[in-house]
Amino acid sequence: MSFLGMGRPQPTSEQKIAAVETEMEMVAEMLNRLTKACRSKCIPTDYREGELNKGEGVCLDRCTAKYFDVHMKIMENMQKENQKQAGGGGAAPGGAGFGFGS
C-alpha cells in the first residue's frame, strides 16, 4: 500500500482491529464507571418503587453531563502535566492517546 513510500507504513490488520477493540473497551469501561458513580449519587438504595421517577431521571441526566465534564477537565489537566514534564515541547508518549473516539 505504501509502496510509493509516502509517510509511515500502514498498520497491519491485527493492529487496526486491536485499536478499534481497545477503543470499544475504553468506552464500555467508561459507561460502567459512570453507571456506578451516578447510581450511587442519584438512586436511593431502598427500592421502594420499580420505576425511575422524574427526579431520579433528571439527576441521572445531569450526573452524566457532570461526569463527562470531570473526565474532560482531568484529561486536560493531565495533558498539561505531560507537556510540562516533557519540557513544553515534543510528543509526550501516551499524552495524546487517552481521548475517546477514533
Binding site: 478499534v20 456506578k36 475517546f100
Partner: protein
C-alpha cells in the same frame, strides 16, 4: 437488552474480512459486558435488599425489593446508556473540532 451494549458502526479503514473478525471479537466482548452488567445487578440488588439472616428463604419484602431493584436498574441503565452515547458523540465532535 443486549443491543444497548452494541455501538455498531462501520469502520471505513477496515476490509470486509477485518470487519468480520472485529464483529466476532465484539460479540465476545458484548457477552462479557452483559455478564458484568448482570453480576453487578445481582450484587447491587443483594446488597440493597437483603439484610435479614434469620432464615435462609427470601422474605416477601426482600423478594419484592429485588424485583423493583431489577426493574429500576434496567431503567437506570437504559437512561445512562442513552445519555452516555449523546455525550460521547459530543465529546468526539469537540475533539475533532480542535
Amino acid at each position: 437488552m443486549l443491543t444497548e451494549w452494541c455501538w455498531v458502526r462501520r469502520f471505513p479503514g477496515l476490509t470486509n474480512q477485518e470487519q468480520r473478525e472485529l464483529q466476532s471479537r465484539m460479540e465476545k466482548r458484548q457477552m462479557k459486558d452483559f455478564m458484568g452488567f448482570f453480576s453487578n445487578l445481582v450484587d447491587n440488588c443483594f446488597e440493597s435488599c437483603i439484610d435479614d439472616f434469620s432464615s435462609k428463604a427470601l422474605s416477601r419484602r426482600e423478594s419484592g425489593c429485588v424485583q423493583r431493584c431489577f426493574s429500576k436498574s434496567l431503567a437506570v441503565q437504559q437512561r445512562l446508556s442513552d445519555r452516555f452515547q449523546e455525550q460521547n458523540q459530543l465529546m468526539m465532535q469537540a475533539q475533532q473540532g480542535k
